[in-house]
Symmetry: D2
Subunit: 445 residues, 4 copies
């Protein structure tokens, strides 16, 4: 078995269906020979990490991409930075310079690992042909577990006299292709109790669903959570689509990405419950909308994110899906006779103001203005596409609100492909392509 | 309030009682003015991180130490490397060069952060006087949470025109001194079930207790765990003392650090249960004693350590204390009528062979050989000191087994101060000093 | 004076006429207000470093470019890598995150300095408003002196309470705008003697002119050097254009970039004289054409490059221009009655074989093949454009030889804009644009 | 030939006579088997870099030291930082972790290269047994050339299946042991002219001789330079001993390290000529003694140091020895009839005030005070030891001036072993030991 053939097989064993990158790299040549693994061959590596991000968002699996050595790896940097910022599990492969000439300044020699270090969780070289399985499996494990993120793995063209490229020399046979498991963690039961206590004491709680809630696959648990307690929710761009924006409790995207009445509910909150979000300045409109005096409950997979911005009153570290299960269980046990949230006055008012706001936007978008304003286009696109649609967001001059609810309303069965805080450009086009590739059952816009 | 005075106050708010380092740094000057915080002033910074490690081991709190700029920070490197390897939560402070001359090559200018980066979890500069509380609180949070470890924080002598040293210029008043909480995580309930299943199927299980089990404070849960199921256990040097070595199920220290019959139980195991250990080569005596074909259950706080060495059949990521609680609960529910482990044939045999081995060592140590062999000295020291003793380990030519059970037997109420895989020298003396300082109620050896 | 205004003024004082980058950064806003400094505003930062490289090649001055924070800086990476590989003096500016929120994960926060570190000579932050002049002047000094290369300088939006962006707060007045001088170094006279000795003993010497010979401005000295001794020369892609390829001693581009008879002269050499080249594998066609047994004289600005690939018999560290002056002086003194090189038999033969080869290529390019082969197009372009033309090279499937002499012959008064060993794409278009901008007197292709 | 045996042979080929470090490393085992190379075996690595520094100072050769893996390398950090700060050429070797387990967290695994990166010029791993000669020769070349400094080289215990330790597996035979040459550079002749012009215009010039002047071996050229023009000189601690302090033009150590009348000459200067010094704050007593309005001529081997602190009016980059030769030549040509400097009024006055100051100190040191003050001890030591003595400096509370002239006067034939700006402790003892080892012909104090 060839070295890159072995890598392609281990990639396939993870259930990954596509690798993205330049077509003439060894990984792609071998990937194409395997049933169930397809190489998507690009002319320019720059889009590969964005494609892998979109793939990961749509499937919940890690995304895999590759670059050719030197400038190829350099071209990946903007997209990998975005994935790092957005905590998307990517595994990135590249060949690197021949160890027989390393340090001599040969063609395309550069320090690829250092280039990738500040934008990945792990940036390593396979130093030994026999270590390929260990390194590749570990790459997937690190990308997926804890706070997910990209990892980089390079393999020199020639290690210890063994060519790894050019399909020439063999790797050791590798008995078993293991699938690396995602290992989830729960919250500390004591902290779960404190969290429930905090929620039950709040009069005006509001929930923020971030990217972490979606990447843990907590959609069902989240829906149960907000409905059990009647909790109005906003999403960050990364959390969008966790529950459809037509849901009575949905207040749209938070912070700078408007909705007039969503802002109001946020600002008046006496408890903010953040699930898988970094809560950076956009959320509070650089503190302009900050709910002064509110308590703060933070749920996050990573202790590194706890209190990074605001100081939580209660913080639960754990996988969003499992933590919400824990909270829902405690709530159901403790408050078995909770009323239907649709009966509460707060929610009735909320539904009313939501309806008013939607009507106002409908009217706004009936404009006959020429040139047609972006918001009208987006609004009509939203209505035409409706349910079961995948929305890939682009950045640019219109981004701040025109893509957002209620101009564009994410409806049932829909998925969003966002970019992260770095907001690099290009995801609009790339995301739509991948959406069609991976989920042909859904519409894509 | 002065800048370093503010830092000393935040340190104190964490419940930390000592800071270790050179006496003429600002942190020490201010620490000494605070009730409840004492500066231990050394002539040489090199011992400061080891002292802080010993302090942390004995109290469960983070250790705090400091260095003067330049060579002072450089002198900390060996000890900090040891703490990093041993996952000990340290917060390390140092002043750094004046921003008004940074880059000019002034007295003791060097890149302290880069020096500390490869051996800490976080190596940062306080860039702004107003940010002192954020950085110091975050330093403690990062040191203690997730996989614990050292963090480094430097503050330039002059930030933005404000002197931070020389006791001249004020920091903003800081309203509240928050105590950073340790946030624990539990295991995924599904994985807990799989773990219990694995244990219940094993005929010859053996447990390895590592440093992580002690640093999570899981002593009681561990005792219940082994007694519930009658699980013989070994410890790594870092896990030593979790339960006294006089316990019937205790097999001593694992791997290269002998005990003849302990090795045998390890080698014959059909299940190895590792709790908070990296399972590196010493444990299996570089695989010489490896139990071929055994299943592997790994429990660790960090997904980064999962499968780093062996590939687990089941891996639970979580705090050892909480995970053992979860496992114990499931076992008690599932097997409510489990027999007393002392009644099982396996354990009866084990106790017999343990007794035999102890007798053999007793005889061995009655030698009248001159010069007196190290093992006899250690053996007699062990008997003289007995219970409630703190043992600080040193490295050296005799280290491989003479400090170990049954030459030295860790008895009830005792604590061990180990070094980590780097095995730097000096902990023997330093640990004993700190033991007397922090736990004057215990004997120290 | 505003902070970025001050930077723009210091840039201007270096004689730099253009800054390249995204138009809405502060540097560009202020650059546009200064006579003699023009901001070239792009839609995408990726081209900015390539433009700055082309600018530097054409003017001998450092190139200046900028990126917006986060993904903007990430987009610069491929171009900066190319400049680093090609030893092109660039000064790159970017804003960075507000120190009041650094570490909190705010919008576009990322470690820009670390991203730039592996691909620059110096990657720093301006930590203090008063230090702006020191850092900017130093950036130019480091970029230009020693082995030239790119440097990166970021300035946080807010330093020590002083906003640097948003045109709000003033920098200290800065009395004098100094022009940073390029400081040249000469060779050790003893080594110069040894070099001349080596040359005078050689029967079949051949010269390789690399990028370093052009970037030191050694065109005149080089012409004198080869003519004094009758030395046939090849160039690397980076050294191309140092003397026109119509010169009798010109053998075209070296190594993999053919010319049949050039290869032969190289292969048969008993002395290779390398001036400002890294002599990597392309030159010797991965050693396929290596002149076994030949002596090696290496002239380079940087001791780091000496012996990096082959081991020189004599190595002179120094600026190519000054070293060639030294050598020419010694040769003129030592051999005052040297014959005209055109009279030597070796050179007469060389001219003959050169002519033959050119005729053969002319014939080859008269082909009527459809589709028209690239070589015919290039050949005709070469004849149409002729003298005083700027050639910007692109990479791609045809690059290995079709751009090269004698398909394309660099004639008198012409300049080449190459890429470096990393061979990133895009310079063809970008270089041509900059050529028109900077040298409207020349034709551009 | 074994791998480390090969390394020992290449070390020996450089003319190096000692390697310093822990005795049980492979380098030391093989060094001891070679005639002409001796392993100095220490109990603690910390002193090894200081010994190598002292060796380099006394011999002008690079110093070689080694550490064992992990904590051994960590222990080298303070000394290597000092050598980096003091631009001392050291080559540091260490074994590193087995590539078959790299990344698994095995015994003493840590990132040694990153630990050494911020304090060396080059920190690399030998990735391939066949590359040993390239890497080791390059290490010496980089350490010695350009601005000298330490470099670090690690070799894994097992590379590509070939054991490098344990004396088991062979390296390729290596035909030739080359001695790496120090390659010097001269100044630009144009700048030399400007420098001479500046000197000839000055009325009160003063010279600062730094460490770089000594490390280039410019003692003779320096003496000629000051005597040709009658230039009073001070030294930094690193430049001390370039010419004996009993010389009429000697003003002692500069800056904070007093001599009352030396300070005065410095402060009143209208031209400061710095040769191989960083001119950091100690020199000008943090600018308290700065000669306002003086011109500044800077001579340094590295363009990186030019204008790092003050902005020079003329800067010459080049080896001090060659640059002073160039300057002396121009001066002799241009001013052939220069008077003897001892005849000038300025120098006559200087000699008088020097005598007065020495008398005053003599009187001061006649004190019968109890306890005997350090200065009296030093003074008497100075008189007892006299000429041909090696002085190794220690730091501590008395360091600021008591070791300095005229308390201790460096006399003819004497050498000083200083520490650099980092001023780490220990050189006093270590330096004296090495002095006796390397130069038994001289007295050592």
């Amino acid at each position: 078995m060839k070295t890159w053939e072995q890598i392609a097989n281990i990639v396939k064993a993870q259930g990954v269906e596509y690798v993205f990158g330049i077509g003439d790299t060894d990984l792609h040549l071998f990937a194409d020979q395997l049933d169930g693994l397809t190489a998507i061959n690009l002319r320019y590596e720059g889009s590969a990490p964005l494609m892998a991000m979109a793939y990961s968002r749509l499937t919940g699996k890690p995304g895999v991409c590759s670059g050719s050595s030197g400038p190829g790896v350099a071209s990946l940097v903007p997209g990998v930075l975005e994935a790092y910022s957005g905590c998307v599990p990517l595994v990135i492969f590249a060949p690197s310079v021949d160890l027989q000439t390393e340090g001599m300044g040969e063609f395309q020699e550069c320090d690829q690992r250092k280039m990738m270090e500040p934008i990945t969780k792990w940036s390593e070289r396979i130093p030994y042909v026999e270590r390929i399985p260990w390194f590749v499996e570990r790459a997937f494990s690190i990308a997926m577990n804890g706070q997910p993120g990209p990892v980089f793995l390079e393999m020199p063209i020639n290690i210890g006299g063994k060519l790894t490229s050019g399909i020439i020399v063999d790797a050791e046979p590798y008995e078993e292709y293991r699938t690396i498991r995602k290992i989830r963690v729960s919250g500390d039961p004591e902290l779960i109790s404190q969290a429930v206590e905090l929620i039950s004491l709040a009069k005006h709680p509001v929930v923020i669903a971030g990217n972490g809630a979606i990447s843990s696959g907590a959609q069902d648990e989240f829906r149960e959570f907000i409905e059990l307690q009647g909790l109005p929710f906003l999403t960050t761009p990364g959390g969008r689509g966790i529950v459809e924006e037509t849901h009575p409790l949905a207040l749209g995207v938070c912070g700078i990405y408007r909705t007039e009445h969503g802002k109001q509910y946020y600002k008046d909150a006496d408890l903010v419950i953040s699930i898988g979000s970094r809560n950076e300045g956009f959320q509070s409109h650089s503190f302009a909308d900050f709910p002064d005096g509110a308590k703060f409950l933070q749920i996050d997979i990573s202790p590194f994110e706890i209190g990074r911005h605001w100081k939580p009153d209660v913080a639960v570290v754990g996988d969003a899906k499992l933590v919400l299960q824990q909270i829902n269980t405690v709530i159901r046990e403790k408050y078995p006779e909770k009323e239907n949230y649709l009966e509460s006055i707060r929610i009735k008012n909320l539904i009313k103001s939501k309806k008013n706001y939607e009507n106002q936007v409908d009217k706004e978008c009936l404009t006959e203005e020429i040139p047609i304003p972006a918001k009208r286009i987006v609004h009509e696109v939203s209505q035409v596409f409706g349910k079961n649609t995948i929305l890939a967001s682009e950045n640019g001059s219109q981004d701040t609100w025109s893509y957002c609810y209620p101009y564009y309303t994410v409806q049932e069965g829909s998925i969003c492909i966002p970019v992260a805080e770095q907001t690099c450009m290009g995801m609009g086009v790339v995301g739509a392509i991948i959406a069609k590739l991976v989920r042909p059952d859904k519409k894509s816009v």
